[in-house]
Symmetry: C2
Subunit: 351 residues, 2 copies
Amino acid sequence: MDVNIRKLRDSTAYWMKKDGPLSHIIISSRIRLARNIKNIPFPFRATDEQLLTVIEKVEKILKENKEFYGFQIIKLDNLSPVEIEFLVEKRLISFTLARFSKPYRGILYNTDETMSIMINEEDHFRLQSMLPGFQLKKVWEIINYYDDKIEKEIKYAFNEKEGFLTCCPTNAGTGLRASVMLHLPGLIISNKISESINTIIKQGYAVRGFYGEGTEFQGNLFQISNQVTLGLSEEDIINRLEISIKQLIEKEQKAREKLIIQAKHKIEDQVMRSYGILTNAKIITTAEALNLLSYVRFGIEMGIIARIGYDVINRLMLIVQPGYLQLIKGQNMKKMQRDTVRAELIKEILD
Amino acid sequence: MDVNIRKLRDSTAYWMKKDGPLSHIIISSRIRLARNIKNIPFPFRATDEQLLTVIEKVEKILKENKEFYGFQIIKLDNLSPVEIEFLVEKRLISFTLARFSKPYRGILYNTDETMSIMINEEDHFRLQSMLPGFQLKKVWEIINYYDDKIEKEIKYAFNEKEGFLTCCPTNAGTGLRASVMLHLPGLIISNKISESINTIIKQGYAVRGFYGEGTEFQGNLFQISNQVTLGLSEEDIINRLEISIKQLIEKEQKAREKLIIQAKHKIEDQVMRSYGILTNAKIITTAEALNLLSYVRFGIEMGIIARIGYDVINRLMLIVQPGYLQLIKGQNMKKMQRDTVRAELIKEILD
């Protein structure tokens, strides 16, 4: 196993282990910036040599700038399929990077995973910063700081009219996508989720599941992000998204307050049954685990369960995934074996 | 609350608290004898005075015979509906006795509930003996002993041709009904239960649920009893029933052995999930509790759960019932409250 993968397996990202503002509804806030180097074709069109140049430039920055002292680089070419799956599950890399068939793909990240850069994805660089709870402005400060550092070393593809140039035109301009991961069991149980989601979509935002684009909704988790990257300043994009998210938080809050009055016992029952199954089952799929963990998290959010922290649930929501599980056990496993090992692991951590 | 009801509430019947032969499949063995006093009409036709005579005769026997020193008598006329429901749930009295609208109904029983006599049900006396596990012959010895004692004091309605006379002609002859309560999760899970039950029915036996005649199957429990009471000796009835039950035990045993080979993990999962729900749910109905308890019992039978005894499950299967619950709490409760109190009680006992 790659030594850095091993370290990542055993460490916990900051966004998972610490609470943030409104952690009882918001899991995490994330911003990514798409950047490309001037005069090098986008990765899909670049030659292997050009892709190598991109990664070498990153390695140079890493060596020569004290701001990057705490960072590590992992080159995907050296990894097994399970290790790559693990990085996707950890939300450090995208499906696109995982599946890209060209060489010299990489990921640069600091130890608490608050800041990372995908190398040679759709764009040369995809900077990403992520914090727990609802704090997009703080995330923006971090990513902006590193973006400035890189810009001092590398000439970005940029022009006054279109802003930052990107492989996909929908990312051009700021190249910024801000997203927030929300836990909305209250709206789900009250059958108000479709209505709330439709409002968000009408406001021009994208709504996605736990794993991002094209994935199903699992564990009552929703990722909401801006679609428009052009014609607005970074601050405007973030401010507008914040307003919409605040409306959604309020709806979820109201739904929960109503549930506590009208269906306290039923909620407690649902939460405790979920906990009971998680701590006793011998076979459990990823999808079931995520849904049950969502209810346990809801129990924490509602004050029904006190002795488990959000950090435990966040960590469990990651390690129940197939790649993570196989890394932990250090072996490839078939579905049935994974379902058994997953059940053991959940029991161990929750007990 | 009636003082004897309180004692019954706080004590546990011998058949519930001790294991018997083949306790891993057979819950209990029971025999009842229908008896009537010569020259007194059957209870449906008797006057109040005649019914009083019947119960007075029992009280006389109780006082004057050392064999009945350990027995208590409860007169149903003094009981609340919940107390009567409780006696049905405890299997000391039948629905028929509970619902009979005439006075002077009663139940005579010894403290470990191995022997009891319903007074003024369909027949003047319904003797009943019950032991844990598969031991009909031992049950027969006990009930026969008490039947002989009573016969010395009372002239039974009997003639050489028809044997003992009973209210319902289907009981005439020996007046004997032997029944065995079986726990058959193996056949249920393997989808072989209908076939097995049909064989038993074709052999001339009746198959009933947990509460006897006209009740649904719950908790994978089946009561099997003889239909024919006339033209065979008591020993023949018991021997023949034993043979059929042994065939059924063998089928259940085979089904379990096959499951352990083919679906060990799935069974463990089902058992442990049931345990997890029982020890965590906040709301639980009687039917769900019985089904989950059945799986926990199956776990004990299969060696999956070691720290819980059959006595605990047997006791739980009784006290989850509505009447028992209300007696324990000393108050009438609506369904929702019962479902909540039931969940608390199960958790308390299993923890």
